[in-house]
């Protein structure tokens, strides 16, 4: 185990895989060469520059808690997609063991609530309904079972993760491991089941958009705006006006924002007055609308 030096924090966008069990994660950890890092008690996180993997333990509450804790870490501040992958039970024997599903709705058995990941990305999976239960289901134990897939974490992960990122960036992929019998699955079986879908999942993940929608103003331009705000001692309202002008300027496809802001900032004395700020704002308005 190694602790993460700050210099190696990711600066790009990141995809976070969430698993309940280590054998579910193992094929991805190996394939993506993710390394374990110590980021807090009880948080098992594996990282490289593009991907992170989190192992939550079994059950929707631990899954929600771990997801929420992980999403607050600065190391995961760049996460733009979350993919929960794991095994599931299936009542329908027509869905063979090993079949992989992309989930389009998750019912939480305990509360009756349903959660809907947005199905926007094109994919090649079969879609299915997933029911998150609090204890393993058996085919003969309940007459309330409906034809669906059963897991124990997804509803918790959805609720926790959707507090941090938009629901089109949450994806749930489940692999049928059994038809609701009560036999325990061994570690190797679980690993093999997940291993058989790694390629398909990584293919799917490779199509994700990893940009965020609000990248209109770049870092340099943000810095120039901050500088102008400080130099002219702009009020919050004036600062918001300048940022609106800057957004309109950039959205119209024009370049040279930093230069235009710098000219105004340099033209005015450090001890600005109300009148000089007003004049500066007029100049900015003129410069950015021209």
């Amino acid at each position: 185990m190694e602790s993460l030096p700050r210099s190696s924090y990711s600066h790009g966008r990141m995809i976070l895989f969430i698993f309940a069990l280590l054998p579910e994660a193992q094929p991805f950890l190996q394939r993506l060469k993710l390394k374990k890092h110590s980021l807090g008690t009880g948080l098992e996180i594996y990282l490289n520059d593009e991907y992170a993997a989190l192992i939550t333990g079994i059950g929707k509450v631990p899954a929600a808690v771990c997801t929420a804790r992980a999403m607050q870490l600065t190391e995961l501040a760049d996460v733009v997609h979350i993919v929960n992958i794991g095994i599931c039970g299936c009542r329908e024997v027509t869905a063979p063991v090993g079949k992989c599903f992309l989930i389009n709705n998750i019912k939480e058995m305990a509360t009756g609530r349903t959660f809907f990941p947005d199905m926007l990305e094109k994919h090649s999976f079969t879609e299915g309904t997933l029911i998150t239960v609090d204890c393993p289901q058996k085919a003969d134990s309940s007459n309330t079972l409906i034809p669906a897939l059963y897991d124990m974490e997804a509803a918790g992960i959805f609720q926790a993760a959707s507090a941090f990122i938009s629901i089109d960036r949450l994806h749930f992929i489940k692999v049928v491991s059994d038809h609701l019998h009560d036999k325990l699955l061994c570690r190797d079986t679980i690993q093999q089941l997940i291993d058989s879908v790694v390629d398909e999942v990584l293919n799917f993940v490779s199509t994700f958009s990893i940009t965020l929608p609000i990248d209109v103003i770049n870092e340099q331009e943000h810095a120039a705006l901050d500088n102008l705000q400080l130099a002219l001692r702009l009020t919050q309202t004036q600062s918001a006006q300048v940022r609106d002008l800057a957004m309109a300027f950039r959205l119209s496809g024009r370049a040279g924002l930093v230069e235009k802001l710098s000219v105004v900032a340099n033209n005015f004395p450090k001890n600005s007055t109300k009148a000089s700020r007003k004049l500066a704002l007029e100049q900015i308005d003129h410069a950015l609308r021209a």
């Binding site: 389009n104 709705n105 349903t114 809907f116 947005d118 199905m119 926007l120 990305e121 094109k122 994919h123 879609e127 309904t129 959707s162 990122i165 938009s166 629901i167 089109d168 960036r169 199509t207 994700f208 958009s209 929608p213 609000i214 209109v216 006006q241 609106d244 002008l245 957004m247 309109a248 959205l251 119209s252 308005d285």
Partner: protein, 337 residues
């Protein structure tokens, strides 16, 4: 990022699938994945939806409207002083994607909700006709107010159903179907009805291109409008909103010239003009949801709960276009917001 095609998924509210209108819709999308839901709001009103991305791959939600089949006329339209004025919401959201549209601030989702219990809307309208405040005037009902029904007619034939409902109700009901669609052909087999006004929103091609994504070109809309006039329909011209784009005066002068090269002034029922206006709440939501819309960063004015142009700019825009129209139409036929 490759996205699923529009309407790849259809969410069907409990009970909605039994309605004939829903059945015909589902029949058109045999390859769509159907997901059963309890209430349309559990999908439509979800928090944390990406409106922008959903607009690129919208889903269909079939639902049963339980109440509020008619709403009192809005203060944001030209007919707001008509005491018989109502509008309804047969469908939530619009197949088009205009950058000035208030829907992007009104709804958290870009998915299209279609209410399938048309009979309930018809019953409510019949009752409203009976009790309308000014019995000397027809009940005036905008059915394509929060949407563009003609643009969606090939998928959900609401216009056809309402035009059929209007038959024989001249004098007691007048419906307006406002549209940017070029899809008049979807109604071309129906005889013109005096209870129906087809209202086309036209904009300079530059505005169509930059601010009215997914809409037909000016030329196509104008052609559809002309076809409707030739078929005997009452047609309203709407230039709303007039946007202050670069060289706006020349653009709108050209627009008016193009319109009247295609259409005889006397063939128009009337003309509605308006400028950009949006409630402050919707504007604030819209800007958060779609921060890359250039239009949201203009120096708007906040005025009695509305975001609009400063008065001088507003007057310059409307007066200019009004003057252009007044050369072809009597002034009493020109209505302004």
């Amino acid at each position: 990022m490759p996205l699923e095609p529009s309407y790849s998924h259809i969410y069907v509210e409990n009970g909605a699938a039994d309605y004939p209108f829903a059945k015909s819709l589902l029949e058109k999308f045999k390859r769509a994945k159907v997901i059963n839901i309890h209430d349309y709001k559990e999908v439509f009103n979800r928090p944390k939806q990406d409106f922008d991305l959903q607009k690129q791959s919208p889903k269909l939600i079939l639902a049963v409207k339980k109440d509020k089949f008619l709403y009192d006329g809005s203060r944001f339209v030209q007919d707001s002083n008509n005491i018989n004025f109502f509008y309804n919401a047969l469908s939530l959201n619009c197949p088009y994607d205009c950058s000035y549209c208030y829907l992007q601030g009104m709804y958290s989702s870009a998915n299209q909700v279609c209410f399938v219990n048309l009979e309930d809307f018809f019953s409510a309208t019949e009752q409203a006709i009976e009790v309308r405040r000014d019995q000397s005037q027809p009940l005036y009902l905008c059915i394509s107010y929060d949407t563009d029904l003609l643009g969606f007619e090939s998928i959900a034939p609401y216009c056809r159903k309402w035009i059929e409902f209007c038959r024989g109700r001249a004098g007691e009901l007048l419906i307006e179907i406002r549209t940017k669609s070029a899809n008049f052909s979807a109604l071309a087999d129906l005889p013109a009805d005096p209870s129906v006004v087809l209202a086309w929103s036209l904009s300079p091609q530059e505005v169509c291109h930059r601010h009215e994504r997914k809409t037909p070109s000016l030329k196509s809309r104008l052609h559809a409008m002309s076809q409707a006039i030739q078929a005997g329909w009452q047609v309203r011209l709407c230039i709303d909103p007039i946007l202050p784009i670069d060289n706006w005066d020349a653009c709108y002068r050209e627009l008016v010239d193009i319109i009247f090269m295609e259409i005889k002034p006397e063939a128009l029922l009337d003309a509605h003009l308006g400028v950009f206006r949006m409630s402050t709440d919707f504007f604030s939501n819209a800007r958060k949801r779609r921060p890359a819309q250039e239009l949201f960063y203009r120096p708007w004015k906040r005025e009695r709960g509305t975001i609009t142009h400063p008065e001088a700019e507003r007057e310059a825009l409307t007066n200019y276009v009004k003057t252009l129209l007044a050369k072809r139409l009597p002034e009493e036929k020109i209505r302004i917001w």
